[in-house]
């Protein structure tokens, strides 16, 4: 067969057909706007970024890049989870010893496990802080772009927070030590306080009436297949919506400010490059967004900062994993309850509420698990989900820290966050044996040992 003869292109000449990119990689130094645009269109990474972004949305002190930190942690968790998949054995007989092997015998095993474990803890924190930032800046609100659906992306975000929590919680059981066993006991006992169907829900979670092999394999499959798949899909959707909604809400805000020098009405194309979808509203003709001084090229200014955040996250986590050892307690023992038995730290505020709302009247006990474990978290998640539609503040409030018009809801949010934080701290540091209260400087009574 005769080889198909392709016309050879001079190095700098543009390809004939749109979308055809003659080089294997994108160009970091595009020679024309066309090349810059093609680089974006033909490259997956750059799908996340518009060609140009407003300077304001790159500011460290607006977003604190918490979403990027969360994504970097997710990436690290997936990457570090890979080797652990090969090393960990999800059976009640072998799980604990396989973790001991990872800790003591596998090259870099202890570090890999620590990266995975601390990464998971950090991700819960980062995702929560990201949500708090978005709430406080009203970034779920639509701004100047047409067809924005930021409130929908917020709902996706709430689900991603839940997926993150569930991922962390399901991973908690896998080492099959006392910490894992009893944290999951506490967590799943809360489920059984749901009226009418509680015990059945618990049985569904555990695959039986006690935490045993069926529970382990359920949590394992959830942890390594179902939840990562769900979170991955949500993540892709989330990022796509960020682009379609015109990037950060702060860019909308910048677009609202008058340009220092009056300029001609803005062409739609420019908006596309800036990542604001579907043209402009007629009212917006001249503004900061198209000001030369107000925008930068995504490559390299945005990508460099993204690299700083992602690599910085890697470096911090790697150093943490070297300096601190992941906990691994005694093998799980259903007959011996550690005192105190605590839920994972991000659920400790709920455990604290459960104890505080459990009322003893004589020999009669009102169990607080229903209030603290079901009603309250259900209420919070429900409110978070619908909040963008309850928020009646004007469009101008989007993309700014503490605007006047959102003061009341921001303060309410902060108070609630503070309450959760305090309860978490109390649960973590001030609860000792028998869930008695101890100040951090008070020593707990000696925990006896066998020998």
């Amino acid at each position: 067969m005769r080889a198909l003869k392709l016309p050879s292109l001079p190095p700098d000449q543009e390809p004939g057909a749109p979308g055809v990119h003659p080089r294997p990689l994108w160009s970091l130094r595009p020679k024309s706007d066309r090349q810059a645009g093609d680089a974006v269109v033909s490259n997956f990474m750059l799908h996340w970024f518009p060609a140009k972004v407003s300077r304001a949305s790159l500011d460290w002190n607006y977003s604190f890049w918490l979403g990027t930190v969360s994504a970097a942690l997710l990436l690290l968790l997936v990457v570090s989870g890979g080797p652990l998949l090969f090393l960990y054995v999800p059976s009640v007989e072998r799980a604990y010893s396989s973790i001991k092997d990872i800790e003591f015998a596998v090259t870099f095993g202890s570090w890999i496990r620590s990266v995975h474990r601390f990464g998971a803890h950090l991700m819960v924190a980062a995702v929560f802080l990201h949500m708090a930032r978005v709430f406080l800046t009203g970034a779920y609100k639509n701004g100047i772009g047409q067809g924005q659906r930021r409130e929908f992306n917020w709902v996706l975000g709430v689900f991603m927070l839940l997926a993150t929590l569930l991922l962390s919680f399901t991973g908690y059981l896998l080492p099959w030590d006392q910490l894992a066993f009893w944290a999951v006991t506490v967590g799943t006992n809360i489920a059984s306080s749901i009226p009418l169907v509680g015990p059945q829900v618990r049985e569904l979670l555990l695959g039986g009436r006690a935490i045993d092999q069926p529970t382990l394999i359920r949590f394992y499959v959830m942890h390594v297949i179902v939840l990562p798949g769900a979170l991955g899909a949500l993540f892709v959707y989330h990022m796509w919506r960020v682009r379609k909604d015109g990037g950060l809400a702060r860019a909308d805000r910048a677009g609202r400010l008058p340009a220092p020098v009056a300029a001609a009405p803005v062409a739609t194309k420019t908006y596309t490059l800036l990542g604001v979808a579907r043209g402009t509203s007629p009212a917006v003709t001249t503004n900061r967004l198209v000001d030369e001084e107000a925008t930068v090229n995504a490559v390299p200014d945005l990508t460099r900062r993204a690299a700083i955040v992602v690599l910085g996250t890697f470096a911090v986590l790697s150093a943490m994993a070297v300096l601190m050892r992941s906990p691994l307690e005694e093998p799980a023992n259903a007959l011996v309850t550690p005192n105190p038995a605590k839920a994972p730290w991000y659920f400790l505020w709920l455990q604290e509420i459960v104890t505080d709302t459990t009322v003893h009247i004589g020999s009669f006990t009102i169990n607080g698990a229903f209030i603290g474990g079901v009603v309250l978290p259900g209420l919070i998640v429900g409110l978070l989900t619908v909040w963008p539609w309850l928020d009646r503040s004007p469009r101008e409030a989007a993309g700014a820290w503490f605007p006047q018009t959102r003061r009341a809801q921001n303060i309410t949010f902060l108070i609630l966050t503070l309450a959760i934080l305090i309860l978490t701290l109390v649960g973590t540091f001030c609860r000792g044996p028998y869930w008695h209260f101890y100040w951090p400087w008070e020593t707990w009574p000696d925990i006896p040992t066998r020998l």
């Binding site: 020679k31 015998a105 790697s318 011996v336 040992t449 066998r450």
Partner: protein, 409 residues
């Protein structure tokens, strides 16, 4: 071409990115070095040098390097102790300092490392390869090495290493006396002499006034009341104190004070702590019956078959197919005819005398006597003699009317 934006960022962002890159490289170096830094690398180096000095560099080349592990599937143990304790199987280090001491040979003959591992006797964390986690006591590992330092901490009387016998007795719990386990043996003597079983059930035998002690070694430390115990808050310390003065720890107990000496209390506590529900296969436990039990009647019958007048037929193997009812021998298979009246039966079946038939058998017996049960002419004479005895007995019983119906074919 459109003018590129004058971004103010590169001036600061570039150095920041460079620093981050540096930190990344540093942290990579840190975890690589951290992962390689283990005491065992030093000990292997030191042992190789010691061997080189003592036996020459050629011998030193045979010293194993890298992580060493004994994997005992039946006990579920992966013991990496020999990563540092490399001299365990070497001769010539009998009086060296640990970790380079030769293991006493005698005990290894009956307890080979390949079958028992290290930690099933010594305690400790076999998975661990660092000094503290491997030996303990460390947090979250309740099974420290039962060595002299632990005995020192408890002020053990006489033999500081006696704690290890706790692990001996996990398998040897049904022994009346175990060779080399003096401490445990003393405890067992005390259990018998003081009559512990009057109140306590031990190994499913004993009274019910006190708690069942069969698996009391598994009782979690959290389940003891330490409020009246000074000093170490451990289950072992609790038992020692409780044995010496029961009312001191449990005021309303009915357990009497046996006025045990410290050594006796320690020996008994070691014994008590050894009573664990340990997942040891039955083959490891001396005293556990390895055969299925028989009824006394079965034992009597079997004994009679082996020692009675028909014992010759049993030891030769004839009884596999033939019963000899008059001698009380019942064949398990009962393929051939009862030999009680073989003298007349052979005559009836083959028209030959028993002597003639055994000399040149026909049919099945020709096969059996040429392949399975090969008899010398002398043995055949014995057989004929025995068969005549059986026939005599047969006729006697027939005359007396006590003959049971023969299960002949």
């Amino acid at each position: 071409m459109e003018r590129r934006t004058n971004s103010p960022y590169p001036r600061l962002d570039r150095p920041v990115l460079a620093v981050i890159g540096l930190v990344l490289v540093l942290s990579t170096v840190l975890f690589t070095v951290g992962d390689r830094q283990h005491e065992w690398r030093y000990y292997q180096y030191a042992f190789r040098n010691t061997v080189s000095e003592k036996f020459g560099p050629d011998k030193a080349k045979t010293v194993a390097s890298g992580l060493q592990q004994v994997w005992v599937p039946s006990l579920g143990r992966a013991d990496r102790c020999m990563t540092c304790h490399q001299a365990v199987k070497w001769a010539g280090f009998e009086s060296a300092e640990e970790p380079f001491r030769t293991h006493p040979k005698e005990i290894l003959r009956s307890h080979p490392i390949e079958k028992y591992g290290c930690t099933s006797c010594h305690g400790g964390q076999g998975w661990a390869v660092d000094l503290d986690p491997a030996h303990g006591p460390v947090e979250h590992w309740e099974d420290p090495v039962l060595g002299a330092s632990l005995g020192e901490a408890y002020g053990l009387v006489d033999n500081k290493s006696a704690m290890m016998q706790m692990n001996c007795n996990v398998c040897h719990r049904y022994d009346r006396e175990t060779k080399g386990a003096d401490f445990i043996n003393l405890g067992k003597v005390l259990v018998r002499d003081k009559g512990c079983r009057a109140c306590h059930t031990i190994n499913s035998r004993g009274g019910t006034i006190g708690p069942d002690l069969t698996f009391v070694g598994d009782k979690a430390a959290e389940q003891y009341d330490f409020s009246r115990l000074n000093g170490q808050k451990t289950a072992f310390a609790w038992h020692v104190a409780h044995l010496k003065e029961p009312k001191g720890l449990v005021p309303d107990t009915v357990m009497p004070n046996f006025h045990l000496s410290t050594k006796e209390a320690q020996a008994l506590a070691t014994l008590i702590m050894s009573w664990r529900r340990s997942p040891v296969p039955a083959a490891f436990v001396p005293g556990v019956p390895h055969s299925d039990p028989r009824t006394p009647e079965e034992v009597v019958v079997e004994e009679r078959m082996k020692t009675g007048p028909g014992a010759w037929f049993v030891s030769t193997g004839c009884f596999v197919c033939h019963s000899i009812k008059v001698f009380g021998i019942t064949s398990p298979a009962q393929i051939g005819p009862d030999l009680s009246n073989a003298v007349e039966d052979v005559q009836a079946r083959f028209g030959r005398t028993i002597d003639d038939f055994l000399a040149s058998p026909t049919g099945t017996m020709s096969v059996v006597l040429s392949r399975q049960i090969i008899l010398t002419p002398e043995q055949k004479q014995v057989a004929i003699g025995k068969l005549r005895e059986a026939f005599a007995e047969y006729q006697k019983q027939k005359a007396a009317g006590t003959l049971k119906p023969a299960a002949s074919h």
